[in-house]
Symmetry: C2
Subunit: 335 residues, 2 copies
């Protein structure tokens, strides 16, 4: 299964038989609104804290994905998930509700593809027949934990990103119809010494480039194999840096296939600074919009490269730079 | 590979070709001091924060395990680790130092066996030839984050536990000599409505019982198959509750083989309340003391059941109960 240094090839082709994305009010105003299964009109989801609302997003996405597949919870063996909250409480409390054997993961915003990569490995190796993989983030819960209370009205620079309020999950199966997970490249931590938490895109871009380069090298393929290569949430600033780094290193990534989930999820009219972020960003865009495009036959072979900034508020306060990582998963669908 | 609902059987028997445990001054005074590879005389390890000291414990354990195996970093494909710090910064920053493809995990104190279970799965499925799995905790870093600053002198009840300052890692290989990882049972979240973070042992005991019961059921074996069944860190209080629960449900777990890492690591003279805890507790006791006993031929077949309390300070403040989980890994060594 291991190809080269860090890439798994899934010969049994684990299938995403169902997926679900649940979003908040700000996502409902974006260009991908139609790709959400459930959209909420406020950030609270009927809960009494943003953290509980975040958990609810994930629970709804899981329940919806299981229902869409015509399955019951008991048909699923494992739940793999993570989020940005301290001690990933959104995922762990959702795992309590789901009552499934649970593997908690943390890779910041790369968690979406970390969970899909590991979920596919479980299916591929017959360690499971069906798993649910997901990730979630909530704008207000993240702002509260990582930055300033919204009520302070603290200003942000244009390089900042807007944490997406969304959960995205995929239900993987060893059998069935749907997009196939064909390979995964697990990233190394890359740290270029950036220290500005309001410019995560720039910090994460080299990690995305490192993982995409490793993926192409390990599989001995060209980027032109793919109809779409989407990074997780580099935003405008990070996307440009990644494109420049590829050009500098003479790696051919055609501009027309190279995009970023943080650029896709909101419109230019929405005040999101450099773009969307949060583990719900790449999860929602992938499991909603991009899989829908595959199902319509517009894309046959894609690579999602979820990027994560592995800092904590404390590591920042202790003047550490920002270690970053990216995990890539390829998906194919030939109908 | 999947047996029953939630247990993986590793037919290829991934081998722990090397392991390493690094501890602090309090562990140096305990009965297992001789089982540590490196012991530090103070909690700082020459760093300027406890968090950096925690990372250093993990880095040293990884480097030592690689050196003991006569390998170089480049021979290892993946690093799987987690810890208790927000955004698992100890593991992520150690992953930066190691420069290996990295899978960040979070299962609170169950992380030690979550990483070993997934690491063994990677080897078993040929997704890797060599991986390092580990976990770390640091008493002062954990107190600072989860409880009160030590300087407050806050009193604790007898049901509280003492977070272990230690890292424990195992180097797994598809070939070679050493203890074999034979199976793993991934736990479900169990929440009995306990809300007291100073009595985690009681909260976690039902999760340990649930996972052990699932393990025996999935493999259709009796607990007497094992020479030792060690829970992660239930401490005195939780260990007694677990034993009582087994008795109540008529599950035969012979008293003489049933122990707890949180009971083993400190002596009765040390003021640790109910016992040790933290993901470094089960990691250090397993990768040090217990593997050493296997190597001496005293134990042939063991089951380690690492338990985790998946709360956060915020979930506690929001009056949530404590969801708990336990992951079990069996190890055999017939020399």
């Amino acid at each position: 299964m291991l190809h080269g240094h860090q890439t798994w090839v899934f010969a049994n082709r684990p299938t995403i038989i169902s997926s679900s994305v649940v979003g908040g009010p700000f996502e409902a105003q974006g260009p991908l609104a139609d790709d959400f299964d459930i959209l909420h009109g406020d950030l609270w989801l009927g809960q009494d804290s943003y953290e509980k609302a975040e958990r609810k997003l994930l629970e709804e996405a899981c329940e919806n994905a299981i229902e869409k597949a015509g399955l019951k919870k008991e048909d699923i063996q494992f739940f793999l998930s993570g989020d940005l909250m301290n001690q990933i409480v959104s995922s762990s409390f959702a795992a309590r509700t789901l009552a499934l054997p649970y593997l908690g993961l943390f890779g910041a915003c790369s968690t979406s593809m970390e969970s899909l990569a590991l979920g596919a490995l479980l299916i591929e190796s017959k360690a499971a027949e069906k798993v649910i993989c997901g990730a979630v983030s909530h704008n207000a819960a993240a702002e509260k934990q990582f930055r300033y209370p919204n009520e302070y009205g603290a200003q942000k620079p244009d390089t900042a990103q807007w944490t997406v309020t969304a959960a995205g999950v995929g239900l993987l199966s060893s059998h069935g119809e749907g997009p196939k997970v064909t390979s995964a490249t697990i990233g190394r931590v890359v740290d270029m010494g950036m220290t500005d938490p309001f410019n995560m895109g720039a910090a994460m871009a080299p990690a995305a480039v490192d993982t995409i380069t490793a993926h192409l090298r390990d599989l001995r393929i060209s980027a032109r194999e793919y109809d779409l290569i989407a990074t997780g949430d580099l935003g405008k600033v990070g996307h440009k840096i990644a494109a420049d780094l590829f050009a500098k290193h003479d790696i051919d990534i055609p501009r027309e296939i190279f995009t970023d989930c943080g650029l896709l999820i909101y419109s230019g009219e929405q005040p999101v600074f450099s773009g969307g972020s949060g583990c719900g960003c790449s999860a929602a865009v992938t499991y909603g919009h991009i899989l829908n495009r595959m199902k319509r036959g517009e894309l046959k072979k894609i690579l999602i490269v979820a990027t994560g900034a592995l800092l904590s508020p404390l590591s920042y306060q202790q003047k550490e730079s920002i270690p970053c990582i990216a995990h890539a998963v390829s998906i194919e669908y030939h109908r």
